[in-house]
Subunit: 246 residues, 2 copies
């Protein structure tokens, strides 16, 4: 739609994968280096990128700044934080908070199993929806029409032999998820991981987010993971109430 802006964003994305040099970036975008230079200058003025002494470009501090602001704007994240921390501590497993935005499912927060500290590895990165507990939970509550549309539009990449492929099977899985009130990823994304997810509802009654626990099978078998369900559902309920759901 807007060429130069598109190119500038592309530059940011590439820099997200690692620092880059002018020529390298120009080659990557397949545009003249003059153009890239000027785009980068504009980005630099606003601290979206910065250059070190060796003229290598990096993502600039404005990226952090924006991300911090954006995360703070997701009130659900702040509301959920203490409950997630508690759940993580109680179960000793990895906890995720996810939402659906613009047709994508992204993680807003993550509490890692080992440390009490948040790892930012996957926060903000879109996750597949057909093979994650959080994805299923978020889609399951959509109104019939939207849900069908979403299911049709997905890319049913087969990650493992358990991955659900195709809209029909997936819609049935969503049905099941909605009925019992929680979602399961039984090695459908990564063979060795089991995840369970539960819905968080806000004051409007709609599912606003989902919480999940992810456990590698070397730590707990499927039965043992399912035994954590009450705690997960309890947490999701608490967050829902804190978010205004009655």
């Amino acid at each position: 739609m807007s060429q130069s802006v598109g190119r500038a964003l592309e530059l940011l994305i590439r820099l997200g994968e690692g620092p880059g040099t002018l020529d390298g970036l120009a080659a990557g975008l397949d545009v003249h280096k003059t153009t890239v230079l000027r785009l980068l200058r504009t980005l630099e003025e606003q601290r979206f990128v910065y250059r070190d002494q060796q003229h290598r470009y990096h993502l600039g501090s404005r990226s952090f700044e924006l991300a911090g602001a954006a995360l703070e704007q997701r009130e659900i994240r702040a509301t959920a934080a203490p409950f997630l921390a508690r759940l993580g501590e109680a179960t000793g497993q990895t906890v995720h908070l996810g939402v659906r935005e613009g047709g994508e499912v992204v993680y807003l927060d993550k509490y890692d199993a080992r440390t009490p500290i948040r790892m930012y590895s996957r926060i903000g990165r879109p996750m597949p929806q057909h093979c994650t507990a959080i994805g299923k939970v978020l889609l399951a509550d959509l109104p019939e029409k939207e849900r069908r549309a979403a299911a049709e539009a997905l890319d049913y990449r087969r990650f493992t032999e358990h991955t659900v492929t195709g809209p029909a099977a997936f819609l049935a899985e969503l049905e099941r998820t909605a009925r019992r009130g929680w979602g399961l990823d039984d090695g459908e994304h990564e063979t060795f991981m089991t995840c369970i997810g539960a819905p968080v509802r806000d004051a409007t009654g709609a599912v606003a987010a989902a919480v999940s626990l992810s456990v590698p099978d070397v730590v707990l078998g499927r039965e043992d993971v399912l035994a954590l369900l009450p705690q997960l559902l309890e947490t999701a309920g608490e967050i829902s109430r804190a978010a205004g759901y009655r």
Copy 2:
């Protein structure tokens, strides 16, 4: 340099302050809403912004994603993390890690006094250099010429009655900082805060980052803060060694 890109970035920055509507953003930028619409569409395509059902625009998940990537690219942050956590725990005070990038001083990490969890409040936001311990430490080690140039270029805003104003006084302060090997902000930014900062050096021997402790005066008086110096310097030394400094 590049008009449309500049406007697009401006949009992102405004959205960082809070969600916005098309008309509102157009009015803010003082451009036609058509233009804003198209810019936003480009941003939306790449997930830099997203629209909710009410057509309000928010920062999109790509912001988180980039920030995560950018933070991971600052190796010094990963190297320092465990030492900072330990320092925070040992002292019970707020710990910051800061670097100088593109003429600005920004915080890369922060461990809050109360919780063991990182607050993202000020991460990525440029901080004044003339009245912060970290700023002083980072400038103090610059080669003569650069240091002088930097000191000349600063905006000596008087935050408190203790704020150093003017290049001459500040250069003297940098001199002192360099000589004794640590920096002090004695209520120069906020009247009620005392901060001490120490340099982190990398394999090249140059100061690559700075660590600081910030303490409100209701918690500890200046003398007591200075008593934390050995721990701070020890931590900075450990990080330096972990970063390859010999």
